[in-house]
Amino acid sequence: MSITTFVIISIIKSVAVIFILLTAVAYSVWLERKVSAHIQNRWGPTRVGPFGLLQPLADGIKFIFKEDLTQPHVYKPLYILAPILAVVFAITSISVVPFGNLMEIPEINVGHWFTIGPIETPFQITDLNIGLLVILGITSMGVYGVALAGWSSNSKYSLLGGLRASAQMISYEVSLGLSLVGVLILTGSFSLRDIVMAQQHLHWNIFLQPVAFFTYLISAYAETNRTPFDLPEAESELVAGYHTEYSAMKFAMFFMAEYANMVTVACLATLLFFGGWMGPVLGPPLLRMVLPIVWFCLKVFFFMFLYVWVRWTLPRFRYDQLMAFGWKVLLPVAMANVVVTALIVAWRA
């Protein structure tokens, strides 16, 4: 593949993935409102479009036209930087996620002078051999968005929210990382594509690493600040936490970052524990190419639904419970899982 083709394909893939991600983010909000409404015996959004399906679009337009207030007491450079950091890191981490198998485009002749293909490229922006570490690295940088927003707003609620968020994210990142080690020991690779390929024929890691899966799921909820771990924005005590002082598009950026992080975490759960795009594949070549993506999307959708379901079912933890649970329960469990997995693998080798 020549460098020009590579650049063009990469740009097309990046634009497509960002577009799909942002659409997914918008519709996760819709899903959240709809499911929560039905859980509480309400209807949710119904006015804009059929089943309220155009509601995200209306919300987006509203956010753009709202007045963007900047309080006089904020520390301006960081106040502006914080939402940008949050949304950039949230979107970047999707770049190493593989959505499906190889995409094969046969040779196409456009007129007599221009030929496209044949191109064979993975359904993924880039396949790094350290893909999982890249995601972990970018997610750990995402803390800055939240922490700086809380600090630069220069208000009590924001600061408390920012402090809570950074403490919580640092604490749960440890058990999140350790819960992934079991999968890494079994696979022997950091590449997300290799991890998925190792789970062929229903050898999904959820069956081999159930403890790791539940540790991951719980820490992922805490990492994305979702109920029952949404202490950073606990509205009954902190107004809105770290984004109290933000309005209009800046607030929307935090909102987008939160849901984009949820999508990434759901993708990661699918890839690491539920066999990624693996599923029954049949039919003509085009269907064979598309079906894996369908399986992948269905699995991610399941995790997004689980997120919403948990949020509207469980009450919020108290802060000391949150910290005690993270350090005294989740971390030892994750460590024990690593040790047991390593021993079994070493014994069988």
Partner: protein
Amino acid sequence: MLHLILFLFFGSICVAGAVNLLVQRHPIDSALSLVVVMASLAAEYLLLGAEFVAAIQVIVYAGAIMVLFVFVIMLLNAGVEERSKGSRVAILLGIPGVVIGAVLVAWTLLHRANAETVAIGALPGYPRDIAWLLFHDFLLPFEVTSILILIAILGAVVLASRPEAVARRHHETETAKPAPELVGAGKER
């Protein structure tokens, strides 16, 4: 060619971040400049083909240690630092030291300019190679380092726990009655 351009680009960001770290007067700006330094160093590692080291650099330094720095600055709400004139010892010893060090480094590099070089990515950079080095060839130094870190953690715990708090906790467990001032106190965790 592209490598050289990228190297110079990230190198100048790194140096600019380091200078900014010294110039900025607010601790949080300095801490964020250090994050920029760490991130651009990670990019330099990536250019050398050491992907694993680059990822670890971001996760450990930029993602964990610097977040703690920022966290502490936020928690203490540290204000703008005062400018001091600088000590005379620093000026008398520091500037000649820096000059001598720079001359030595430049001289060594120029002197060995035509010594053997290694192609980019030829050195062990894959996680498997690094794991082999760490857990096979350099196992003892690696484990000794981890014990060193453990000692540092224990020291921090000892320094952080105030004797009166420990005594009160003893008292509390003996009488099995919670001391009212301890309930919900944030510092106990």
